[in-house]
Symmetry: C3
Subunit: 337 residues, 3 copies
């Protein structure tokens, strides 16, 4: 990448102060930026760091008294992200065509512009949409359908008969469509496996982190709706439904047949039990364990999860508990006298 | 799949009411079933849904007043599972023979009917039993022995010298036989790696979920006994023993050298520390952290885990804690007067 | 392996009692050792087991009254580990040369003695240092640089432009350099992906367990410093820094931009939130959730994490809570009279 600062301004907007011919060859955070980098100053709290940075130019919320060229814009963070998108576009790793070692079995349909990396396996009857890129050593199962413009990173395992929409991103070592965890105790000796003959449906614009698992349904489909974003190490049980644009932070786990409404946020390491409902826009704090349905819009926290305000009161009292105990014992002695 | 309903009755038993010539082309849950599907009605609580379903036929606990053909049987759920097993059998994905891109190194023994998917690697000296199927991009390490009729899904990593029994199922991106986590602080500067020269032994009829890890022992073997069922994201530390027919729900983790008896159930996200013993048939509730040995048959819950009844009392009191605190402070003021 | 016991003594030091011609063909723990095995007796607590072992020879802290040859040494455990290192060296699985199915793309630099297993993919512009061994089905991304004498096990996914030092060990199904989890809500409808254009830097002598994820930075680099040891299922968020020789036990998770000092220990399943600092040599107990910075040398435990002594007091009081509640209610009744 090499751009003049005035070209950067054209991409992100704002007002240029200083030399528009400054060459921008990369991006960096204020602290680690090097010469040639563009960095951004989110607000005045970062002015001291801005004075120390080695970046060659800054995106700032107002003209700062600094001998460095600046692009002043109302929201430097968002402007900078627009620039990052441009950088990412340029850096975009395109796999062109089908690698000679990729295995494309019979009856597979590949859209125009599909890129398949080395040792990718597309099993019989699968379909890969236009412009989708699949990185090396990834496996697509029998009859699975991947939409257009998806990016599936390396060493991903997608089982048979899964349906994935457009512009879906799936990170490495994630498993889509493994058997849901279902057994029936025969009453005497054995756990009989309940066959999982359903599937997984993932809608458009979903992003799924690395080392995640989304199990196939016993019947019907486990369903990840449009725009859901999942961090690494998440797990979705069989027959669960994750509503539109939910955010699941790392290690969030959703039990079987549980339904999340739209725009629910599960913090890191939240566990939601099976067969319950989390209402639209509910937010569950990190580390919570949710055993009961949560109403729409509610904020819950704790194990078991409670309303955030209640959990905070409990937590505050908890720290006082040794003192409470001591005082109570004193009172009891007094009262016994 | 296409069966007449009277053929379904032959598979699952029970009494047929209505047209035995109804064609069954699939299975579904009451709510999502489509025309051609068979669905089941577990008990009377599902009668309202039964009236709304689009399924073409139902398995019911008694003749329901509905203009749909029904198979009446004492336990519709179990009967339906028997049918699912038949469906699964028909849907079974068989990999026939050794794919031309699979790598079978020297000294490998393949039993009759072994199916190896594309890019599977069987390292030197390994043995794969009769009828075992290994999906694409999976690696079997040097000298490892896999039994008969196993199914190992794609992108699994099995290290060297591991022993796996018959009818074992291993889901995608699981790692069997990675080094146990053992270091010795040299007292000054470095953590010295303790070589893990043991192995992993997995007995017959075990099922292991996706993204699980079962570490190899420092010495001897980490041992998963017959009939154990593990959900996704579980972890078994080095030298641990998991007793016959234990159930480990997602994210269950068992520390090094810990021993689980027979039929222990670890709920979701349970952590069991190292070097302890969990007695036969003990059940540990979801989210618990177990720091001490648990007696046979006990039910434990909480962090640290306690007897279930005790933990429930603590949890109940905990919600009252802010009130207790307030009341105590009032009493203290009174008592000071 | 076959050694005479006197040769073992030469390797580990100490004083030999008994027949130096005893043949040692393996190693084992006291309980499971078989004839031919060497076992060790850590201290007197293990003397009863020493009397029952089938091992052919023992490493002991003093001459035990037993009709078995013994090597007596001050620290049997450490001496035994020295022997294990020798065993591991002999057992070492060397992949020689580049397997005919490995894909080495253009511009790749391979050092002398590099071993690449079957179906390994080294993407264009990558560099692999001398003596590094990469097991089957692993993917190295565009332009990534791996140092000398590393071992990368099978089915690992390493993304583009990552830098890894010397003698690094990475276990199976681990993902290095997946996109950090960053989205910007557009205020109306969508979560806009913040491009993650940074990288990951892993220094010398790091070991990373199976099924771990280390995300690439938004800008700059996520940094794992020298000698860090990570167990399975760990997660490092984007832009985090893990200081020299930290120990992270299984399922430890470190949020984005958080900084761990040197020799920090995170117990099993510890979650550290983003944007905080954990001081040098701090130790966080298993299962803790850390929401605030922790000073150097501190021991913290709990959710939220507190000083260990405080958390222990709270835990102790917690078990008394139902009793406290009962007593308080009695006092209140009395006081009302």
């Amino acid at each position: 990448m090499e751009l003049f600062l005035r070209e950067v301004r054209e991409i992100i907007g704002g007002v240029l102060h200083g030399d528009g011919d400054t060459r921008i060859t990369g991006v960096g955070g204020l602290r680690h930026a090097r010469e040639g980098d563009l960095a951004f100053v989110k607000d005045f709290k970062y002015y001291p760091e801005a004075h120390l940075t080695s970046a060659s130019a800054l995106v700032t919320p107002e003209k700062i008294d600094l001998p460095k060229p600046q692009i002043v814009t109302e929201n430097p963070y968002e402007a900078f992200i627009r620039f990052l998108q441009r950088v990412a576009e340029e850096k975009k790793l395109v796999i062109e065509g089908v690698h000679r070692t990729a295995v494309v079995e019979e009856g597979v349909k590949l859209g125009p512009g599909v890129g398949l990396g080395a040792h990718v396996v597309i099993s019989a009857g699968a379909a890969i949409g236009a412009g989708t890129i699949i990185y090396p050593n990834t496996t697509i199962g029998l009859g699975s359908r991947i939409g257009d413009e998806c990016v599936i990173y390396s060493n991903v395992s997608i089982r048979e008969q899964v349906r994935i929409g457009d512009r879906v991103i799936i990170h490495g070592c994630t498993v889509i469509g493994a058997d849901g965890f279902g057994f029936l105790w025969d009453g005497e000796e054995e756990n009989i496996k309940i066959p999982q003959v359903g599937t997984v449906r993932i809608d458009d614009d979903v992003e799924i982190g690395a080392c995640c698992t989304i199990d196939r349904a016993a019947l019907d489909a486990t369903w990840i709706q449009r725009g859901v974003k999942m961090d690494n190490h998440c797990h979705i049980g069989h027959n669960a439904v994750i509503g539109e644009r939910c955010i699941l932070v790392a290690y969030a786990k959703v039990g079987g047949s549980t339904i999340l409404g739209r725009r629910v946020v599960l913090g890191e390491d939240v566990g939601v039990t099976n067969n319950i409902t989390i209402g639209d826009r509910a937010r569950i704090g990190g580390g919570s364990r949710v055993y009961r349905s949560v109403p729409a819009g509610a904020r819950f926290w704790g194990s078991p999860a409670k309303h955030l305000a209640e959990e905070k009161r409990v937590q505050a009292s908890l720290r006082k508990l040794p003192w409470l105990r001591k005082k109570l014992v004193e009172l009891l002695k007094k009262s016994d006298q």
